[in-house]
Amino acid sequence: MKNGVIIWGLMMSFVFGQMTGRQIMEKVDAWPEPKSMVAKTTMTLISIKRGREKKRVREITRYQRNFDKGKFKSKSLIRFLKPTDVKGTGFLMWEYRESNKNDDQWLFLPALGKVKRIAAREKSENFMGSDFTYEDIGGRKLDDDEYELLGEEEVNGVNCYKVQAIPKRKDTAYNKRIIWVDKNWFVMTKVQFYDKNNRLLKVLDFLKQRLDGNYWSVIKMKMKNVQTEHKTIMEMSEYEYDTGIRDNFFTKRFLQRVK
């Protein structure tokens, strides 16, 4: 199976030599999504204070189930492991297929001992104090942007397409994104995010990615806010795909169940 995928990937660069920006992003989007996924994520938040780096570490386990049909698009449960003062905190989210329907979200705070209903978060809000927003983590839908192929460039020795993505609606923190896509594998290698004033805001580098069966696993990536010099290194490990997590796992019952 893996060999087949490799050949398919190599073929891409020949068959789609003269592609449009939209076609390139369609190929990126065409990589299959697992039905369910578990991964441990470690985020290192790095700030510069008086010329010295200050590091803080956040650790979570994320459980996610994606749905092909029905009213839900996905359900996910995030369990906070570090720092210790937030250990046990849980976040449950139900994402609906209907694009105009807000997500349902709940937060379990062990110190309060209760599950709190929370409003769908602003997508432009930072996730756990990192440089990633909820929108960056959740990803944008293919049809959310207009694409234009700007050319080809090498990124860290990898030949890439350079694609500009301009949002169709204003409900995003970004004016545009510039995306570098690996010409052979059709996976993103770098993204630049521009703020509403069209100034470069953040740069995301995919430092390590791996093909696990049919699925691409991001192992390490770095997001740097060039305006504040703050950066976040996100490392994912202990990936488990299609383990058959049951639907009833994504409920308040399991949200409260601190391991």
């Binding site: 003062d85 309060l112 001992g113 209903r117 929370i118 409003a119 104090g129 169940r257 391991k259």
Partner: protein, 413 residues
């Protein structure tokens, strides 16, 4: 994996809490060091948890205090979860006030200014939760009633307690407060409750029933009739508790980017102390209670703003139905408003929060401002200011002289 083969996990913290009275003559109000140790052992279908606390307040006689806060065992079945042992059960939706969240007694030794996780007292109980596709039925059984804890009389956070009975002729008779009379440990005195919860039309809802002893204690004199011509040297007073039923409803629902939530509790028969009957020459104490319907409810709106900010406001109403004028120390209607504004800064390194509880009936309240800073991953500091105002017989006003500034330093592991 069973509990016997599982590896226990430990976490906890060391905390110093220093509070200084904000007064012309400042003095220490708290010098407390605390060590908290939590242990979890997780098996596939079971989980054990213990939370242990050693607290030493240098200003309190009898410190240090060692407390086993919680000690319970979870057993998970396919559709049923069981939790047995000393535990906390939270039934409310309100923040900082207690409407339907009355399963566990409260520790009010530092009034409402305790850390949230310490304000409820863990008590032995059995909790069973039964899960269906759409509903959750939670049943609790509490073998023995435990009352709220209050600060010792004479300390900063002691609740107002009258020290003398004043006759209509102006004679002051000292009161000697005895130990509270708690219901004996018998099966028929155990407390129990049911909560049915679900999710429909984007709304979380719960229906509640609780049969328990009421938290507001009643006061009784050890004499039935006081002869005004020959008054006693002192009167012995004791507190006791009555059994009540509570029916409740909770809900929360997101509306236009905000969360609308509420909770309502109704007691068909709630007990209140009433004034004694006064005749020309006697005061009759023998039946100094009345039983009336009692309602308490809360409506709240939480609005999320940019950069992790939240504005949360709550309206609380407590009402005695068919009120009689002779009821002691309780207004027919009590209304509170609460406001909380919070935000985080510098990638959540710093935080600020302002919480205000305001009794609109008595025009008294409490304001707490908190500034937090994360020095390192496991070291945090908090600076706060507490302001309390109101009439001295009011729940807030009695602590009017307890305005304070405080500093907390915490190391988590």
């Amino acid at each position: 994996m069973t509990l016997l083969t599982a590896q226990p996990q430990f976490d906890g913290y060391l905390q110093n809490w220093t509070a200084i009275r904000a007064d012309e003559d400042p003095d220490y109000m708290m010098l407390r060091n605390r060590f908290r140790l939590n242990t979890t052992i997780s098996g596939d279908w079971t989980r054990g948890y213990a939370s242990f606390d050693v607290s030493d307040d240098l200003l309190i006689e009898g410190s240090p205090e060692m407390t086993l806060r919680e000690l319970f065992l979870d057993i998970y079945f396919d559709k049923v979860d069981l939790r047995i042992g000393k535990q906390q059960v939270v039934w409310g939706k309100a923040d900082g006030v207690f409407i339907n969240d009355i399963v566990n007694p409260l520790d009010l030794r530092y009034f409402l200014l305790q850390d949230f996780e310490d304000i409820r007292i863990g008590i032995p109980m059995v909790k069973a939760s039964v899960y269906t596709e759409t509903l959750v039925l939670e049943a609790i059984w509490i073998p023995k009633f435990e009352p709220w804890r209050f600060a010792e009389q004479g300390s900063d956070w002691a609740f107002y307690q009258p020290q003398a009975f004043i006759t209509p002729t102006g004679v002051e008779i000292p009161l000697a407060w005895g130990k509270s009379e708690e219901p004996p440990s018998k099966l028929q005195n155990s407390e129990y409750g049911l909560k049915l919860s679900g999710f429909a039309f984007g709304t979380d809802y719960s229906f509640l029933f609780l049969q328990s002893y009421q938290d507001r204690y009643l006061v009784s004199m050890d004499i039935d009739t006081l002869n005004l011509e020959d008054p006693p040297v002192k009167i012995k007073v004791y507190s006791y508790f009555r059994r009540v039923n509570m029916f409740g409803l909770n809900f929360s629902k997101p509306v236009l980017g905000a969360v609308f939530r509420g909770e309502f509790g109704y007691f068909p028969d709630y007990y209140f102390n009433v004034d004694p009957k006064v005749t020309f020459s006697t005061i009759v104490f023998d039946d100094n209670t009345c039983m009336l319907g009692y309602f308490q409810g809360m409506l709240a709106l939480d609005i999320s703003g940019p950069w992790g900010s939240t504005i949360s406001t709550q309206y609380i109403r407590k009402q005695i139905l068919d009120y009689v004028d002779t009821i002691q120390k309780a207004n027919e209607v009590e209304e509170w408003m609460t406001l909380m504004i919070s935000g985080t800064f510098w990638n959540e390194t710093a935080s600020a929060r302002w919480l205000m509880l305001y009794d609109t009936t008595e025009e008294s309240g409490l304001s707490r401002m908190i500034f937090g800073y994360e020095i390192a991953d496991n070291v945090s500091a908090e600076f706060g200011v507490d302001l309390i105002w109101g009439n001295e017989e009011n729940i807030f006003g009695q602590f009017d002289s307890n305005d304070n500034v405080y500093f907390k330093l915490m190391y988590s592991f």
